[in-house]
């Protein structure tokens, strides 16, 4: 039995299939970072840290005439979003109901996807994770409200990357507000704005809940590294006669190898 303790849950095999499928369906559109950065793993729940290949001096070694250094690692974080489901809804699904209420699972999936994106793009200081956008040394480019100028802003960001010797293709992560604005501006001089941006980038445009503003980043590889211990999974907490408490969980870390490989676009 794994640490997820799924066997202890009062959930049938088809019930688990339903929950896993629903979670996958909700998570995949929202996991923006995974569409843009390098992904390594999954290395399993037991995987705890990544070697950074560096060492730091340790003060006061326990002896005369010696020095000490300690290897540096980046520990993985465990990210969890708990939720409760009404057992009768799962029982109805077993009877063949095709509209069980799984809203709590959907909300948990969105929460954990938002958190993963935010950690990758904006960092998570307490976990030692630096984000892509906060690490960028380039001047941020203000997007403004006029979407027709967005291709120009994106081109300027790409120019900054090229001047720093960062090749493409380039991807564009758009926070929800910016994404909506782009969608609402369907045309740019008679040409769909999204298509125009795609041509400029050579890479994908991604809806990125959890991202404030937007960012252009290189997808040539080796610059942004997401390392996965256990990939997203549903585990069991406890239950009573009416409800069952579950959680979505993953373990990961993230590091920026090339801070110059991204440019921040700020939202007005």
């Amino acid at each position: 039995m794994s640490h997820l303790l799924r066997e202890h849950a009062p959930i049938t095999a088809s019930g688990w299939e339903l929950l896993d499928s629903e979670a996958r369906e909700r998570l995949e559109p929202a996991l923006a970072a995974r569409r843009l950065v390098d992904f390594a793993g999954p290395h399993g729940w037991e995987h705890s840290a990544t070697s950074l290949g560096r060492a730091r001096e340790v003060a006061d070694p326990p002896g005369e005439g010696v020095t000490g250094a300690q290897r540096q690692v980046l520990a993985l974080v465990e990210l969890r979003a708990s939720f409760s489901l009404v057992r009768s809804e799962l029982e109805d699904a077993d009877r063949g109901a095709d509209d069980p209420d799984l809203e709590a699972l959907d909300e948990a999936a969105h929460r954990i996807a938002v958190a993963e994106n935010a950690a990758v793009f904006h960092g998570w200081g307490n976990a030692g994770i630096a984000g892509i956008l906060e690490s960028s040394p380039h001047d941020a480019i203000e997007l403004g409200e006029d979407c027709e100028r967005y291709p120009r802003h994106v081109a300027k960001a790409i120019e900054a990357l090229l001047e720093a010797g960062i090749g493409g293709p380039y991807g564009l992560a758009l926070g929800p507000e910016v994404y909506t604005r782009v969608l609402e501006t369907s045309e740019h001089g008679g040409y769909p704005l999204l298509e125009h941006l795609r041509k400029v980038l050579g890479g994908p445009i991604v809806w990125a809940p959890g991202v404030r503003g937007a960012g252009v980043l290189s997808m040539r590889g080796g610059d942004f590294l997401f390392e996965c211990g256990e990939d997203l999974a549903i585990g069991y907490l406890d239950h009573d006669a009416n409800t069952v408490r579950l959680y979505l969980e993953e373990s990961f870390n993230f590091r920026v190898a090339t801070p110059e490989a991204a440019v921040t676009l700020t939202n007005p």
């Binding site: 095999a13 688990w16 299939e17 896993d20 996958r24 999954p42 990939d231």
Partner: protein
């Protein structure tokens, strides 16, 4: 539709998801590495020049490495395969017996959890690069 065809695809390539195409490419690569290992084994068996044999031996070592990397990739992407492999690889004793037991245990566990065969306990999402926005 592209007119270019590749042997590793059994189904029309443009109907296959990106992850399945990657999986198929690595399966094809695994096959090629195994073939190369077998070829070097045969060449060394008939080669009388020691220096030539040493080079082939070195080259075969490279193929061992490639084969193992391909295999590890495929096992990481296929938890059920990985679970069965864990019951067979590097075990003392009867290989066939271990195989039967490992398959039975792994498939029963997966079925009791209601999981898709290749899904493992995780949702199996992994990287979404190239999967479309």
């Amino acid at each position: 539709m592209s007119a270019v065809g590749f042997d590793q695809y059994h189904e029309p390539a443009d109907e296959l998801p990106q992850a399945t195409r990657t999986f198929a490419r690595l399966c094809a690569s695994l096959t090629e590495e195994a073939e190369a290992i077998g070829w070097y084994e045969q060449r060394m068996a008939v080669e009388s020049d020691g220096e030539a044999r040493a080079i082939m031996h070195d080259a075969q070592g490279e193929e061992f490495k490639h084969f193992c990397m391909d295999l590890e990739f495929l096992l990481r992407r296929t938890p059920l395969w990985r679970e069965i492999a864990q019951g067979i690889l590097f075990q003392e004793g009867d290989i066939v017996e271990h195989g039967e037991e490992a398959e039975e245990e792994a498939t029963e566990d997966a079925a009791s959890r209601g999981e898709p065969l290749a899904g493992g306990e995780s949702l199996g999402i992994g990287s979404l690069r190239g999967s479309g926005a």
